[in-house]
């Protein structure tokens, strides 16, 4: 009798349990195939965008797409590239998107067939210099190499040639092109200009210029007075000004080194829908407004207001940079730099 009751109870319990399990398991049926694919799941982006800004973009994007987990690996351009290369050697690239400082890396990746071709709806809103003609990458932000100086620096620099002024002797910082893609672009730009050339770097070295590991470090070192002047990315100065940092920047007379920072989707992505959504988000008007607000970047679109005190895209006087040549001569540039600044 007892046994029977026990068996009955057990049966009932099992029955209830199976119903509960059935209810808890989401229905396996797929949503109607006609519905547009929805951004969800995990994507990873490897980027050289500074951590605090990357954090804010991540929070903003995840708030817009609650079903998405956005992972960010942050490092200097060469770190990001080395990591993707190591992953490639291991047989699987984890990154879905790559967003580093300058276009030459993307020319490399394009040649290695690592990138996914994609034409976002927003592509038409961009000028030609903001996108790859083959549709593999698009500028997600615009950064410029300019001259930054400590607020107490006297006289204030106005042009690139001013950096050779003995008044700044030993107090000039230059981010290392061995780590920073933007710096590499700048070095190659000057090296290729007839009125600058490598001699400019010999002269800088003679005036006591020092190489610094990366842009953010140099920014802090100028703000703290360790350096009087330095070659730096424009937005980095705008970013800390509101906090009261003692640093200023100037658009050099000869022009700035103008760097559209591209973003691209890797061909190996397992979540192309969400990766595309991120790319769309970055290029879109609200996306660029976010970049202005969070990162103090100059927008890549004409229809977005630049951050306070910054010029719009078309007002920037720029030096010519041949990004294909940057890619081609990468090792030579780094070797020559090491020869001058290495010891």
């Amino acid at each position: 009798m007892n046994d029977k009751r026990f068996s009955l109870a057990l049966l009932l319990a099992l029955f209830t349990l199976s119903i509960l399990v059935a209810c808890a398991t989401p229905p396996a049926a797929a949503p109607s195939p006609a519905a547009p694919a929805e951004a969800k799941g995990k994507i990873a982006i490897y980027t050289s965008v500074p951590q605090p800004i990357a954090d804010k973009i991540q929070a903003d994007f995840q708030a817009k797409f609650p079903g998405v987990t956005l992972d960010i690996f942050r490092g200097g351009t060469s770190e990001v590239v080395a990591k993707i290369m190591t992953e490639k050697a291991g047989g699987e690239i984890i990154a879905d998107l790559v967003w580093v400082a300058e276009p030459s890396t993307y020319e490399d990746f394009k040649a290695q067939d690592l990138l996914l071709k994609y034409t976002p709806a927003e592509a038409s809103a961009l000028t030609d210099e903001m996108k790859d003609k083959d549709g593999y990458y698009y500028a997600g932000r615009l950064i410029n190499m300019v001259i930054a100086y400590n607020s107490a620096t006297d006289p204030k620099p106005k042009s690139w040639k001013d950096l050779l002024n003995p008044a700044y002797k030993g107090k000039i910082g230059f981010p290392s092109p061995l780590n920073s893609g933007a710096a590499e672009g700048a070095v190659k730009t000057f090296a290729d200009l007839s009125n600058f050339g490598w001699k400019y770097f010999d002269d800088l070295k003679a005036n006591g210029a020092k190489q610094v590991a990366n842009n953010s470090t140099l920014r802090d070192q100028i703000a703290s007075g360790e350096f009087k002047v330095g070659v730096l990315l424009d937005y980095m100065v705008r970013e800390v000004k509101p906090k009261g940092a003692t640093i200023e920047y100037v658009w050099p007379d000869e022009g700035a080194v103008f760097i559209p920072s591209p973003i691209a989707i890797l061909k190996t992505t397992k979540n192309p829908v969400t990766a595309k959504a991120f790319l769309d988000f970055v290029l879109s008007k609200p996306g660029q407004e976010t970049m202005v607000k969070l990162g103090f970047f100059i927008p890549i679109r004409a229809d977005v207001t630049p951050p306070e005190g910054a010029p719009s895209l078309d007002k920037i006087k720029r030096l010519p940079t041949d990004w294909k040549a940057v890619t081609r001569d990468r090792q030579a540039t780094k070797d020559k730099w090491t020869e001058i600044f290495g010891k």
Partner: protein, 561 residues
């Protein structure tokens, strides 16, 4: 019955061998294998590339210079302080005995970060002296070799201090007394009798410092990168993480083996001195040692000791706290510039630093628990059985801690980069590779303490259980484990704290979402977010202090500082 016992014993051995093969042997074999591969072919090209590159040779020279200089400094400082505590009537000796080992609590790379705030080109001390003297140049620049030596010295002298202090306190004073009776003046006795007697202890301590310093990654990374001053560990790190050249991992493997050889030479010498240490001078009896009456010298020596304590422990802590509290880096730490914003940023806004704290705690707890369990088995085989190959087991379980962390990390990358066969799961780029690396790295701590406890358990207890019919596993579970539980417990903490402060291995194995707290501090500093890195460093120190206090409490003061 007998057969069954034997089988479970053999099964244990097989289990231990399997675990050690996966954790240690396979990764190290991969490292050696990859170092003799180039373009996927057998070749010594990687070694050639590693040894002919001028920057690598320079890094090797830097490694030797910095480590030897720091070794000398630590040895002189550690020996002098040990003498001061053990053999003089210096006031406050008991306080200093604890105070002088406190630098052990702070991870060296945090020390480097802190010293940057004091003696960096715009460090507090430099700024103060510049204002005072009206100089336009900083008084001293901590970047580069001199700063690296300073920070290493201040962090490693306790190694020498502790071993020499122990030696002095256990030394048989009769020899000194005999010399004194024969008319030797106290300082002469110290020089001619005490010092020579302590020499093997001092040398062994010094070499331990050398091995630690040559394997150090954090200090030369933080104080060297910006000056392009590389040592072997940071050079290997650079090749692994920043080189976009083909075969860079093979070249890094060859460089790692060179580093392991240099460090191995140090270990060999250290073992040599330790084996020579068995003089008749160490007696177990506690005796009243000779004490030098300092007389009038006691005042300035006390001031000196206090200054050293402030320099080694107080100043870096204060400096890093100030930087964490200042609104924007570079502003003076005046009341109007102070804010808690940096703490808010790293705890609330920056997701990676929050994850880093959680990951580090999780990894430390898991690694410590796994090691405690594993080491019970491994130590049992080493101590209690006569199985062949048990000495090898001991050697293998020690290898990952003896080798520089950079070498272990690269071995792990090479071993686990490709997906595992059959299950198609990749450890690389997940948190599991960090766990595997931590378990391998600190296994020696667990095995050593478990072996120590096991040696004190007499076999008769186990035999009694077996005679009463218990199987091997049962007697292991019911007799051996309960008896060595305090040892396993101590081993747990010996692993837990180093895992929390780890940087060298984590810096190479972390991936997105799988950061450790040390990695986040380091990355923030490297990417120029000095204020945020200082804030997180303060949090890290707080976590370590709490963990240390808990350790002390739970082990009844036997562990921790």
């Amino acid at each position: 019955m007998k057969r069954l016992r034997l089988n479970s014993g053999q099964a244990t051995l097989a289990f231990a061998v399997l675990v050690l093969t996966i954790l240690v042997v396979y990764p190290l074999a991969q490292l050696v294998y990859q170092s003799i591969q180039y373009n996927q072919q057998w070749s010594l090209q990687s070694y050639l590339a590693a040894m002919t590159s001028e920057s690598n040779l320079l890094a090797l020279r830097h490694s030797l210079e910095v480590s030897l200089a720091a070794m000398l400094g630590s040895t002189v400082l550690g020996t002098f302080l040990a003498w001061l505590i053990a053999r003089t009537d210096l006031p406050g000796r008991n306080f200093f005995r604890t105070a002088f080992v406190l630098p052990f609590l702070i991870p060296p790379f945090i020390g480097a970060l802190a010293w940057l705030q004091i003696l960096g080109p715009v460090g507090y001390l430099n700024k103060f002296l510049m204002t005072l003297t009206g100089a336009s140049e900083p008084f001293w620049n901590i970047y580069g070799p001199a700063g690296i030596v300073l920070v290493m010295m201040l962090h490693e002298y306790p190694t020498v201090f502790i071993s020499v202090l122990g030696g002095l306190e256990r030394m048989n004073p009769e020899l000194e007394e005999a010399a004194q009776i024969s008319g030797g003046r106290i300082f002469r006795v110290m020089r001619d009798v005490t010092l020579p007697l302590m020499m093997p202890t001092i040398a062994a301590g010094a070499l331990l410092v050398f091995i630690t310093d040559i394997a150090n990654f954090g200090v030369p990374a933080i104080l060297g990168f910006s000056e392009n001053y590389y040592v072997l560990t940071t050079q290997i790190y650079n090749v692994i993480t920043r080189s976009t050249q083909p075969n860079s991992l093979n070249i890094a493997a060859a460089m790692s083996i060179l580093l392991a050889l240099v460090s191995g030479l140090g270990i060999f010498l250290q073992r040599f001195y330790l084996s020579n240490k068995e003089f008749a001078v160490i007696s177990g009896k506690s005796m009243q040692p000779n004490v030098v009456k300092l007389g009038a010298h006691r005042y300035w020596l006390f001031a000196l000791a206090l200054t050293l304590f402030v320099i080694a422990t107080v100043a870096p802590l204060v400096a890093i706290l100030l930087t964490a509290l200042v609104r924007a880096y570079g502003l003076p730490p005046l009341p109007e510039n102070l804010t808690l914003q940096n703490f808010y940023d790293v705890l609330m806004l920056n997701q990676s630093s929050r994850r880093g704290i959680v990951n580090s705690l999780g990894l430390a707890v898991t690694a410590a628990t796994i090691i405690s369990l594993l080491s019970a088995f491994i130590a049992y085989i080493i101590v209690k059985t006569k199985m062949r190959g048990r000495a090898l087991l001991d050697f293998i379980s020690n290898a990952p801690y003896t080798l520089p962390g950079t070498v272990v990390a690269l071995a792990m990358i090479l071993a686990w980069l490709k997906p595992l066969p059959l299950i198609d799961f990749r450890l690389y780029n997940t948190i599991w590779i960090l766990l595997v690396a931590y378990v391998a790295r600190y296994l020696a701590f667990g095995v050593r303490t478990a072996a120590g406890s096991l040696a004190q358990v007499h076999s008769s207890l186990e035999e009694a259980a077996r005679i009463s019919g218990a199987g091997w596993l049962q007697s292991f579970r019911d007799i051996v484990i309960p008896l060595i539980r305090p040892g396993l417990f101590a081993g747990w903490f010996l692993v837990f704290i180093p895992c929390l402060r780890e940087l060298t291995i984590s810096a190479l194995l972390w991936s997105t979402r799988n950061e450790t707290i040390g990695v986040v501090v380091f990355n923030l500093q490297q990417s120029g977010n000095t204020s945020a890195s200082a804030a997180l460093a303060v949090i890290m120190i707080a976590v370590l202090l709490i963990a240390n206090l808990i350790t002390r409490r739970l082990t009844g003061g036997k562990l921790g500082y």
